[in-house]
Symmetry: C2
Subunit: 190 residues, 2 copies
DNA sequence: GGCTACCTTCCTACCGATAGGTAGTCTATG
DNA sequence: CATAGACTACCTATCGGTAGGAAGGTAGCC
């Protein structure tokens, strides 16, 4: 068996706790309680909390890559806005954050290996955005004076930041309302 | 004496640690070590870590209000961009975050009283932005089709989010480069 | 089939470090 | 002589992690 049931459940519960409380906001004890085993049993599946953390990042990266692949032929603006729909879905589910957002907030207290995995995936998402923006410009849908990298930074910053403000003010609508702003930023004005 | 030297030093060191590591990232022990006293002595000045947290928020709010007052007659766009200069200054000083940004990331694990103080100050900053945007529109410097509240949300989200990404990628320039985007968003196009 | 050896996964019990916080005391200053 | 502010000593809870053993399945071998 490639992946045991317990291991899968631990990663799932871990991700849920991670997205709600942060990596330093939950313990192995919490996970053990939720999946109904004792804490030391988790060490049969993960050598350390750091290893679980790396698994959770890989897990989310896998999800995101599959999602991107599935929507790669959708209209470009829909794909970009899809990122905000994902954030909105997380937020409506018990005030969760996107894993990248919550982990980047704890960056300074994370093990080095997790910092790297996090930075790598954020770069991956940035490259995904840059590619879409370039395609949109070439197709004549987006303004030709956009700097694709700079624009990707703006979209990522908006996405990270709006999640914090939405939770702070209990206003999940705010996340989706950023979509109009993104369109306004990207699309050619008539 | 309204405020003792030790108390002042504790708040200062606490704020520095807060902005670097988050509220859950430092302990009373850390503060005590840095200011050269023993941990229990801090309880002569703060009844709890929560009380210190509230003091630190009040401290930052006081700083911000004084800063806003000092610059209230500057050109409007300079005032708004000033927010990003503040963030940039924090980031270049040992990867610090603005206190509101770092605390909002830990929102779910914060005592209720601190959540309220944080939400209140974020609203205050939002109102400050809304006021400036309205003034800019009335003065003919900004586009007339802007929704001031919505625009303030965009600026705040950009500010919060860009700090995370700047630290993640060790790229403090990214914070200041948002200024051009803000101008582009606000100012009338020729 | 029956035996041994091993691996996985769970358990109880425990470790040292650290967290926030308390009790009681000493000492300098007003 | 009271108070503020420092101290030593200690509390309970929790953290990440380890030691050692029991239960169950499996693989190789006679």
């Amino acid at each position: 068996m490639v992946e045991s049931k317990t291991r899968r459940e631990a990663i799932e519960e871990g991700r849920s706790l991670l997205q709600k409380l942060g990596f330093n906001g939950f313990s192995f004890q919490d996970i053990a309680n939720r999946i109904g085993i004792k804490k030391p049993s988790l060490y049969a599946h993960f050598a350390s909390k750091e290893e679980l953390g790396l698994e959770m990042i890989a897990h989310y990266r896998h999800d995101f890559e599959r999602w991107a692949e599935k929507h790669k032929n959708d209209p470009i603006i829909d794909q970009i806005e899809g990122l905000f729909r994902i954030f909105s879905k997380f937020a409506r589910d018990q005030n969760k954050f996107c894993p990248l957002t919550v982990l980047s907030a704890e960056f300074q207290t994370l093990p080095i290996s997790m910092r790297k995995a996090l930075t790598d995936m954020t770069r991956f998402q940035e490259a995904w955005l840059v590619d879409l923006i370039q395609k949109g410009i070439r197709a004549g849908h987006f303004r030709t004076d956009l700097d694709p990298l700079q624009t990707a930074h703006i979209i990522q910053s908006l996405g990270f930041g709006v999640q914090h403000l939405a939770r702070l003010h209990q206003d999940t609508d705010r996340i989706l309302s950023m979509q109009a702003q993104i369109r306004n930023l990207l699309e050619v004005r008539p």
